[in-house]
């Protein structure tokens, strides 16, 4: 393919005196399963919000599949799917109603929306709860219905913010299966996480973020380098390697209560 799915140049965002994103440059290849990793507070959510047009950057430019997010929203919004973290859904709709609503808002024909919704609900194990209000869904079910809404219009690039956070292993496996099938067809997935094992097993391309900057980016093997695991490489990259918290808690476990 060769073309990049996402191209970010000099991206900045400050909230008051706190700098959330401090000059991010990033080029993500199309057709890959890409992991954006970093500790809590690294700026992953802020970066993804700015890339998807949900947050206006202070400075910098974002292009998705060759179109500027802020100057050409018509081209971009039709081509991307988003699952944000920390934002609500229309929770007083049932799962099926939510899919019907978001599909039709995107201008898809009603019959097509209903057909795709039925298949997505089936694949994501939500068919049994499709008529329950989303407000009564568990965390895992919310992530799955959010993913279904993001996939409904068959986007070229999918942005997922912490899609596995608080999700039970069964739902996680289901989400994983759907995403793997989706990327196998040539689409791009960008997802953020702080669970390294997950990123290591899923992704073929990684960007490591810490304190609002990109610390490393490239194919998984390249970022991991000589380290035994991505976890180890990551800890070294963010400067947290070798810290041992055990010696002060010598009373913990066994012995005198």
């Amino acid at each position: 393919m060769g073309e990049s799915a996402v191209r970010v140049r000099g991206l900045w965002k400050r909230f008051g005196r706190q700098v959330a994103v401090a000059g991010v440059d990033l080029e993500l290849p199309a057709g890959k399963f890409i992991g954006l990793v970093g500790p809590n507070g690294a700026g992953k959510t802020t970066t993804l919000s700015m890339v998807t047009g949900l947050l206006r950057p202070d400075q910098g430019s974002v292009e998705v599949v060759g179109h500027d997010v802020w100057r050409d929203p018509v081209e971009v919004k039709a081509r991307i799917g988003v699952l944000p973290e920390g934002l609500r859904l229309f929770e007083r709709l049932s799962g099926r109603e939510l899919l019907a609503y978001s599909g039709r808002l995107r201008g898809l024909p009603g019959a097509e929306v209903d057909k795709r919704a039925t298949q997505l609900l089936d694949v994501l194990d939500l068919a049994g709860s499709q008529h329950k209000l989303v407000v009564d869904y568990s965390t895992g079910m919310r992530k799955k219905i959010g993913l279904a809404a993001a996939l409904l219009h068959n986007p070229e690039v999918l942005f997922l913010d912490e899609p596995f956070e608080g999700v039970d292993p069964v739902s996680a496996q289901t989400i994983r299966g759907v995403l793997e099938r989706y990327t196998a067809s040539g689409a791009t997935v960008v997802f953020s996480s702080h669970v390294m094992e997950l990123v290591e097993s899923l992704c073929d391309w990684v960007a490591v973020m810490a304190a609002g900057r990109i610390r490393a980016t490239g194919p998984l093997a390249e970022v991991r380098g000589d380290a035994p695991s991505l976890q180890q490489a990551f800890l070294e990259l963010v400067g947290a390697g070798g810290r041992d918290a055990g010696s002060d808690l010598d009373w913990l476990g066994g012995g005198v209560r």
Partner: protein, 541 residues
Amino acid sequence: MTAATAPGPAAPTAASLTPVLVRLKLSLLRNGLRQSGGRTAAWIASAVVVLLFTVLQTLGLIALRGHAHADALIVLMAAVLGLGWAVMPLFFNSGDETLDPTRLVMLPLRPQPLVRALLVSSLVGIGPLFTLCLFAGSVVAVAHGAFAFVVGVIGAVLALLVCVTLARAVAAANTRLLTSRKGRDLAVLSGLVVAVGAQLVNFGAQRLGTGGLAQLEPAADVLRWVPPGTAVGAMAAASDGEYGIALAQLALTAAALVVLLWVWSRHLTRLMTSPDGSTLTADDRPARERGSAGLSRWLPAGRTGTTMERTLRYVWRDPKTKSAWVTALAIGLILPVFNAWQGTGSVYFSCFAAGMLGIQMYNQFGQDTSAFWLVAMTISSPRDAYVELRGRALALLLVTLPYATLVTVVTTAMLGDWAALPPALGLSFALLGAMLATGAWTSARFPYSIPQEGFKNVAPGQVGLAWISIVGGMAGAALLCAPVIAATIWLNVSAGGEGWRWLLLPVGAAYGAALTLLGLRMAAPRTAERLPEILAAVSKG
């Protein structure tokens, strides 16, 4: 192993548990105040108001001493108080964490000491103080003679305990409901109960003012046999020398207390020994698709119909939106119709219905909460924003147009002033159009978050924004309506104007429609270019 031979901590007895729970209640009260200065101020202000009210009410009761029908009034008051205590935990459950016994479930406590300790700790607070003062005032107002005073004091204490235990029993019996989503929805709707209750009290007071206290007697004769009214009944009977009846009513109060304590203790035991609601499977019944499937067939296709359908569903299903709508519908009807009923109204008062419902157009995106991102992701041009806003306005019109017309016709029929119907309708439509226009524009320009939990309708820090949006918008709407208002006045006062007053109906309707279209056209580009800013503003709740 030392741990195996060491004696385990003994289960706390009532004597040791009661002070602990009283101290817990006081700490919760204090910590609640410590959270913010504003909250402290609000709490102190409400405490002062309640105490003032208590003092005035008690003084009023004392002043009633010797009045022929004082006991009837006070029996009713005791009944209302009892009802209040029964209903309170259902609506204001979140205010008192000790009301939720499941928080103590992990502690090794026996039911009897726990009930005693919880009962004593629930006597701490403004509510019990208020109740005690009222019953003390009742004793002064009703009791005549030493025996009556003794009966009165015992009755007042019993009545207070009945009220507090009633609240606890209701809370314990409904904990499952109250800690669930449906319980929180119910709490949001409680504002309505308060508003409707205030109307009823107001109505009752007006009738009392005209008819005197004597008409309370029939109701009081029944209620003096229903606890906690029995306590007041006992005082009155003892004063009249009917000692047998007094003792029977006192015994009935005590019996009610025992039964309530038994019910409470039983529910408490069941709560403490069964799994709590969060580990049970949630309600699996499908959401009722009341009328919506049929509705979507009638709505236009595409974004317009989709947006309308979602908006109308939210009016029914979202507790905040629902209570705003029901309040608007009720006040929009009550104000013109009640005034017409009392013969003081005017047909033009029915514009209130259009005005109240027009307010629902304000802060459209705040009503979405942060779910607005779903809408924002599908708006990529001013045209999309226009269709979105128009869909919301149409959904509102679908209810408001027939409703405002109905209210105007009913008001006119009650007043018999049919000549005023066309201009009043025209003015209503013009006002509605102006409200929709300013509502759409302020929705784009001054959005703010509506917290989903609790009674607040504005997120902290956005009160100024909400004021600009609503008050500024309404002033703007009134200004926009000025030409139609001026024409109405002119046709009403000028000689020969009556013949042309019907003209105000088509003119007002056309003017309102034009204002709406203009407002939507002006709001759309602002919405489209400010999507991230709107999302940030509505995501604070």
